[in-house]
């Protein structure tokens, strides 16, 4: 059904291949939106607006390129417009930086604790929780690269940051994830009691 809006009437219909590919990526766009917003309701608004904008500007999509990268970029732009620029821009505060430093300093403990549980098949919910706790800048990179299989260069383009920033955020985000999962495993009784020298 066409709307009677002039711009809609003048616009050619999106080709089936675009529609199919874009719609098939909705889980991916939703996950990325969740990584940006944390809030499910806000994420749904981002997804809704992303698809509307993508549909209306489908002619700007270059066939043969990665449609998910295109959609992720639109989603991030939608997200940025949805909040007052700078108001909720997340940077690492002192406390978060300390956590990152601690995660790296406790590498041996984290690794020793995580290693025995990495073959478990029931870690999905714990990983989702740990992802949700990551600072925004780290979470978006980890979701794009580790869950959505985007190359560093694509993640950099989507997020509007240099590749070196992607690399740095990815490293630190992964170390935070490992620390969080090791902590979860210990709290859930999946790990042996910590030995001396372990983190408080």
């Amino acid at each position: 059904m066409m709307t009677d809006a002039p711009e809609a009437a003048a616009r050619p219909a999106a080709p089936p291949e675009f529609s199919a590919a874009a719609i098939a990526a909705m889980d991916d766009v939703y996950r990325f939106a969740r990584s940006l917003t944390r809030d499910p309701s806000d994420a749904e608004d981002v997804v809704q607006d992303t698809y509307l904008r993508a549909f209306r500007s489908w002619h700007t999509f270059q066939p043969g390129t990665d449609i998910r990268r295109w959609l992720f970029t639109i989603a991030r732009n939608v997200f940025l417009r949805s909040r007052e620029r700078g108001q909720r821009e997340v940077t690492l505060d002192d406390e978060q930086s300390a956590v990152v430093d601690a995660a790296q300093a406790q590498e041996a403990w984290v690794r020793g604790g995580l290693d025995p549980i990495l073959d478990r098949t029931d870690l999905g919910p714990a990983i989702t929780d740990a992802l949700a706790q990551l600072p925004e800048n780290f979470r978006a990179v980890v979701v794009l690269v580790d869950l959505e299989d985007q190359p560093y260069e694509a993640a950099a383009e989507v997020l509007g940051v240099p590749v070196g920033t992607v690399r740095s955020r990815l490293f630190r985000g992964r170390k935070l994830l490992q620390h969080s999962l090791a902590q979860h495993a210990r709290d859930a009784g999946l790990l042996p009691t910590r030995h001396s020298g372990s983190p408080a």
């Binding site: 719609i23 749904e44 997804v47 509307l52 959505e148």
Partner: protein, 91 residues
Amino acid sequence: MTPDHAKPTTGAAVDCNAALESLFDFLDGELDGSIEERLKAHVQQCKPCFERADFERRFLAVVQTARAEERCPKALRERVLSTLRAEGLGA
């Protein structure tokens, strides 16, 4: 992280510091062919680096499983499709 000078460069031998510095790039397939091959050779013959790489590889595989944990809600999918149909999808 190790300092930048630990990163492998073209033609240089890869030591443990360089291997660990670029481990995630290696596991993510972000290194170019020459460096990737030399880093791979180092990891295969260095037990500590092999164990570290194996740990990180298994960790990344576990993180990937979170993909299946979060999917677009059905109601949202229907709402998006309804909006797009109103815009001309399938017309």
